[in-house]
Amino acid sequence: MAETEVRIEPLSAPGRRSRTLDPSVAARLRGDLGFRVLMLALSLIATVPLVLILVYIVVKGASSINWQFLTELPKPMGEAGGGISNAIVGTVILVAIATVISVPLGVIAGIFLSERSKSRLGTVARLSVETLMGIPSIVLGIVAYTWIVRPSGHFSALSGGVSLAMIMLPVITLSTEETLLLIPLSLREAALALGVSYRRTVMRVILPAGMSGIITGVLLAVARGAGETAPLLFTAFGNPFLAVNILKPMESLPHTIFYYATSPYPAWQALAWGASFVLLVIILTLNVVTKLVTSRWKIQF
């Protein structure tokens, strides 16, 4: 913090000169410095919690990570040890289901939006996707519940995957559209002028050129889906055992964190710190990979 305070000085430095200045100007310069310091202080207040969170989770969570923690099932209350393998496997399966559903539809809708953005259907579709983006995740959980859980009569991983897919879909669609709109018209014209069909122009020229942006969108969507809890409460529900059947209830990392964090037992809360650490590592890794993809494969023409 001290370092950043020092950085300000050479930028404004009214202190030394103010003695020779008109008093009103000196006051204005002091006000300028005060405002700058205030903005810096407020910004630090805004970002300090991040530091708290990361340090605390690394310290608390990393200490409970070991092979046993990653590979074993939770033990009943009172027994020491136990792991979160069911939650790790569950999160992977749930996100996989959601990805399989949302990526094809999301990318196709994104291509449609970039190709026909001015058409009437394009306007309606964009408004729909943007609205979908703003719907609270718990509401999408209710929708998946009425579509799958209620008719089938029991909670299932499939319904959880569907609710996550609805959360991921708009992220993928909007980033696909944004990327494809950046691709210069000359590429498309060159392909079409060579007699290449429309389908091949889109699939072999435009889509590969925008691949990095599309992958970025998918990774961001996966990171978002992996961290969602609310819609899973009454769709995938939770399961203390290792489950791979997608028609049965399934545990997930965020649900494990919620369940153990709100329990009154310190041993369970330690499990929650460990699970938070694992979840954060997954999500932050996805974010870093996203950044690498964007910077390495940036569209340049």
């Binding site: 930028l11 404004s12 204005r28 310069l29 006000g31 300028d32 405002f35 700058r36 903005m39 810096l40 407020l42 910004s43 805004a46 970002t47 919690p49 991040l50 708290l52 969170i53 605390y56 539809l105 196709i108 809708a109 449609f112 026909r116 259907l121 579709a125 408004l127 729909s128 943007e130 609205t131 979908l132 703003g134 719907i135 609270p136 995740s137 718990i138 509401v139 209710i142 929708v143 519940y145 009425t146 209620r150 609805m166 069909s197 429309y198 389908r199 961290g227 969602e228 809890t229 609310a230 009454f234 965020p254 919620f258 964090a261 709100t262 979840l279 954060l280 999500i283 932050l284 974010n287």
Partner: protein, 292 residues
């Protein structure tokens, strides 16, 4: 040649189907919610919106307590988040546009945006709840720790990265010749920010605030963990309460009767309508600013 043309037609059809699918999805979401909430809409009537009592035992389901809880927590969070995120936006958009410090701040904001809600809730339980409990003890209030103030503060930090990045974008849209004109007339940098940049950006910033409000309204897990879950109408910010999202999260899988479950879905429908309207309003304001 003919097969090329027919595959082209098929491809175009596929794209149009994708566009239709996302539009139909939104309609399907609205219709399913309405259909599932129908028994409650019939049973509760219009008093659902004006009554404050929520008691599954007597089957009286009214939403006012949750609507008020949502409004109080979101509005306090919004005020705190707007002040802090404006400071961040000014810092990133005016004072430190480039350089290591700006890169660190920007990365920090991106990281904050990526942290899952349930982890925020856990942090809230461990840091915010004890802090508010100390405050309540000092003020001589019952030391709940959990409650609407705790929720508001936590929410503020959760929506902050979102409004800060919108704010930075909006501020970068302010034409630099306006700012240069002010500076060349002898205005200090803070005067330029106050009198040129912010007035020009006000409508865009308001749009960003509306979009953050949409986020705050629907935030569920962190709220559920620190609000205390009391189904009573209260305006006391130190008291435990409940929001629309948190009551659904708490009671949905325990709802025993059909009307109970349906009433929770009706709250979900209300949440859907309100957050959609606020989001559309925010989008319109931000787009108008960007088009200028």
């Amino acid at each position: 040649m003919k097969s090329e043309r027919s595959s082209d037609t098929a491809f175009r059809t596929l794209l149009v189907l994708g566009g239709i699918a996302v539009s139909v999805l939104l309609i399907a979401i609205f219709v399913s919610l309405t259909v599932a909430a129908r028994p409650a809409i019939i049973a509760n009537g219009f008093r659902f919106l004006t009554g404050s009592e929520w008691d599954p035992v007597t089957s009286s389901f009214h939403s006012l307590a949750f609507v008020v809880g949502t409004l109080i927590t979101s509005l306090i969070a919004l005020v705190v988040a707007t002040i802090l995120s404006l400071a961040l936006a000014i810092l990133m958009g005016e004072y430190f546009r480039t350089g290591a410090f700006s890169a660190i701040m920007r990365t920090a904001v991106e990281l904050l945006a990526g942290i899952p809600s349930v982890v925020y809730g856990f942090i809230g339980l461990f840091f915010f709840v004890p802090a508010v409990r100390v405050l309540e003890t000092v003020l001589g209030l019952p030391p709940f720790g959990v409650g609407m103030l705790t929720t508001s503060l936590l929410l503020a930090f959760m929506i902050l990265p979102y409004s800060a990045s919108i704010g930075r974008e909006i501020i970068s849209l302010v034409p630099s010749d306006l700012k240069e004109a002010a500076l060349s007339l002898g205005a200090t940098q803070s005067e330029t920010i106050w009198k040129i940049t912010l007035p020009y950006a006000t409508s865009g910033i308001m749009g960003g605030v509306l979009l953050s409000l949409g986020r705050a309204l629907g935030e569920t897990m962190a709220v559920t963990m620190v609000i205390g879950n009391a189904n009573v109408l209260t305006f006391d910010i130190f008291a435990p309460g409940n929001t629309m999202a948190s009551v659904i999260a708490n009671e949905f899988s325990e709802a025993t009767t059909n009307v109970y479950l349906s009433s929770l879905i009706e709250i979900g429908l209300l949440l859907f309508v309100v957050s959609t309207l606020i989001n559309i309003a925010g989008k319109i304001v931000v787009n108008r600013m960007a088009a200028r």
